[in-house]
Subunit: 146 residues, 8 copies
Amino acid sequence: MQLTVYLAGEIHSNWREEIKTKAEERKLSLTFVSPQTNHDRSDNVGEDILGKQPGSLYKDDAASDINNFRTQVLMQKSDIVIALFGEKYKQWNTAMDASTAIAMNKPTIIIRPESLIHPLKELSNKANVTVESVDQALDVIGYIYE
Amino acid sequence: MQLTVYLAGEIHSNWREEIKTKAEERKLSLTFVSPQTNHDRSDNVGEDILGKQPGSLYKDDAASDINNFRTQVLMQKSDIVIALFGEKYKQWNTAMDASTAIAMNKPTIIIRPESLIHPLKELSNKANVTVESVDQALDVIGYIYE
Amino acid sequence: MQLTVYLAGEIHSNWREEIKTKAEERKLSLTFVSPQTNHDRSDNVGEDILGKQPGSLYKDDAASDINNFRTQVLMQKSDIVIALFGEKYKQWNTAMDASTAIAMNKPTIIIRPESLIHPLKELSNKANVTVESVDQALDVIGYIYE
Amino acid sequence: MQLTVYLAGEIHSNWREEIKTKAEERKLSLTFVSPQTNHDRSDNVGEDILGKQPGSLYKDDAASDINNFRTQVLMQKSDIVIALFGEKYKQWNTAMDASTAIAMNKPTIIIRPESLIHPLKELSNKANVTVESVDQALDVIGYIYE
Amino acid sequence: MQLTVYLAGEIHSNWREEIKTKAEERKLSLTFVSPQTNHDRSDNVGEDILGKQPGSLYKDDAASDINNFRTQVLMQKSDIVIALFGEKYKQWNTAMDASTAIAMNKPTIIIRPESLIHPLKELSNKANVTVESVDQALDVIGYIYE
Amino acid sequence: MQLTVYLAGEIHSNWREEIKTKAEERKLSLTFVSPQTNHDRSDNVGEDILGKQPGSLYKDDAASDINNFRTQVLMQKSDIVIALFGEKYKQWNTAMDASTAIAMNKPTIIIRPESLIHPLKELSNKANVTVESVDQALDVIGYIYE
Amino acid sequence: MQLTVYLAGEIHSNWREEIKTKAEERKLSLTFVSPQTNHDRSDNVGEDILGKQPGSLYKDDAASDINNFRTQVLMQKSDIVIALFGEKYKQWNTAMDASTAIAMNKPTIIIRPESLIHPLKELSNKANVTVESVDQALDVIGYIYE
Amino acid sequence: MQLTVYLAGEIHSNWREEIKTKAEERKLSLTFVSPQTNHDRSDNVGEDILGKQPGSLYKDDAASDINNFRTQVLMQKSDIVIALFGEKYKQWNTAMDASTAIAMNKPTIIIRPESLIHPLKELSNKANVTVESVDQALDVIGYIYE
């Protein structure tokens, strides 16, 4: 059974590459999809496509139109969502994607460091499973195939 | 990832051919579906299939039965909806298709000329993205594959 | 049985006052809700609340945020939607509201002049009933109470 | 028309009292509901009701069970959600509540300071309206009653 | 607890009066709503409101617009649906209303004579309860209040 | 685009064979699914699988369990529903299947002879299209592929 | 805010009376609804209303029609579900009601003795909160009103 | 037509192997998916992946997170659910899975021995079909392909 997995969250580390490589090593039949992980492209895509905007609020809003479009298309195509929270940044998009996935009844795994247990407690509680590493997330998905 | 795109809107210009050609040039994995674009066939299909009706209201209603059937089948099969508004005509079908797509949670792009910003402002606001050209619409969809 | 009716459509004539007065004369237990019918206020509400915007597109988008918020609140509270199309203007909001109502399974009545039969044919076909006057719309609603 | 408003977000300032007082001054027919705003009670409610837990992760999870129960009951009863983001704290619950509200089709207003435009851009883009103050949020809701 | 009950089905006998009288005798807190039970009015309502139609098919379709509008409004307001099948007539409306109610998750009771067991077997199987008399239907509803 | 079509209705004539043959002649990419069309098997399947039942009501109910199971599986897999009404029999299953399909938002075509216009008027009004022959139904579906 | 609470589960103890009395003592604005708690009436209601059945399977099925009807009406009217598991009996109805409530997004509390932790672990995990006593369940609901 | 069948229920007998073998013998185009049937692995998977927990309640809850994740993924992918109840054990997971499947509109078959008729009567009544053996369940599914 082929499953599609949306990888929400931090775009400043290479965890998506890590999860893809490890999933292949485990021979799991997974297709991974993601948000735009090139930060500059993600921030600029509104102006790149729609042209110069009259200020940063408008530039941000134009980019968000297109980033949200991408996420909506890909999340609707997914069977599972993994959301990774790192220690830095506000990461409200990650919380938004995880919450939206849960509200859409998408089975959802959160990856977060121990230091974030407290601020993420209500969201962890609503997700199916919360783990601390990419390996554990793949253990959870691999369990489906046992 | 293969995506199906419903092309709602104006049937008096060749924008659908343009978008298909350009999508192929960009090597995007898209399948396009559309309403009936032969205007006469679209207007007459009710009488063509069900026989002569007793007046134009009844002829129109018979055609609409079949046009709405077609749209419902194809829109349910689609992952994305693009709705193009031109400068002429009332185009209430385009507004209807875009609004229905949004209510069905289909990711939706509106293409409209600058002159229509004001009358389309509430609908643009509900759609994911509003652009002014077929190229920009393909930029937005192409962004999914980056 | 008290029913709430959302009155979508044209804001340049006084049909909403007419329908309220006539509903009272018929002693129908109806509560009416509407979009903002003061055209200037509707166009300016974005800048009125959020402050000066850097151009008409942004002014329009800010107003639409708030107009769409209002419509969403009131339409969710409604049992019935009436959408009136006049002969002038593009009226895409009216088509949007009627289409959204239909997609939400709200029982929907369209009022339109005979001259608009053809351009509105697909939308009329999806609505429950299409009539040509406020009196007929109230006849339809009054029929519920017979 | 009486409307119920869920006030998500920051519990370290008195903005909920402010909004209630100002709504009364404006004579808006609003009922406000909220999460637990006593921070200690919110953190301890799991142990308060279920007894001592074997560590902070388990204490947090027990509290989250009950906080999420409360939010689910009250948000389902609400017609409108307002989510306020302040400058401090991670506030992932606020992002979670706003995202859940949007996914449930609850009309949603975000209040956030200018400094948070960038990190909240995708969530703001999905909400109906984003404003910077309690007064503006009430302006938006007051507009429903005009 | 006040419950609203939609009474679908046969309009050629006085079973609705019987059920209302008996519900009052039992002091059940029920509000009853129904389709138009004046057969002539039901058949003619399209022409009564919309004017003369060009033939019986069109007259029937105009009446159906308005009858279906009424049913949709009232069934959405109901907590329970009772559908009564008599021995005569095709009664496809009754089957339609019962099936629609079941698909909408409305708790549904069918009343039918023993002679109709076989032709109604699949519909009875999908309804919650099938009985043979108005008294039994009220026994079932009365059981809620025990 | 391959579409799956559920063929509800009369099992005493060979219209399903006719529609399959004609669809092949027209080279339409359709997969057809149907209820059990062997009438005896359909009536006896409950006892065939579950064993002798204590009377005809129970035999009918056991058969209905299994017939409804089959219909639910196949209708959920279908993109389009065609429901054919003939002149004989009560055909409440046909009305049930068509009504259920409409409530599930399945695009629906009714085929019925002219003699049944009046008793089927409300159901026809809710379906997308009503025609009088298998050929017309295929004309409607063929129109999707034009 | 008045809330309606469905009390699923064990009917062999008086926990429902206990919870009602204690809710009154705490002055919580709760309306409680329940399944039929008279065990004999619950088992016999099918024969009581529909007449003698030809064996215990049929008697049970007739009773279940009516018990499931009652539960469906009352659970749809409820804002919260509490499901209590005792140490005896199979209690599959309790598991069914709790699971159905969760699938309907009803906020759900499970009450079970410590001895049942293991067999109920997956269901507890899906419910909002699991407690061991009626008092704790009321603590959880009371927390909404703090 | 390829169908996916989720096999809920008892993991202490080899009924899943039996059903797979017999389905192959009958040449039915079925793909079977299941919960984890290795009881120890199912009980320990929480600690296996997340590490040692501080007591059996926490060990059970960690395992349930992952077992429920697996079930949710696989049940959403299924067209049909079969739930088998044996004579031993509490089997609340089986009741939970069957009830969830029914609430999700998954066509559902229950297999249970005659001795369990009474305690399972309400759940049997809500399922599509209840049988006593694996062979009968395959008879029911095989009927789809006749």
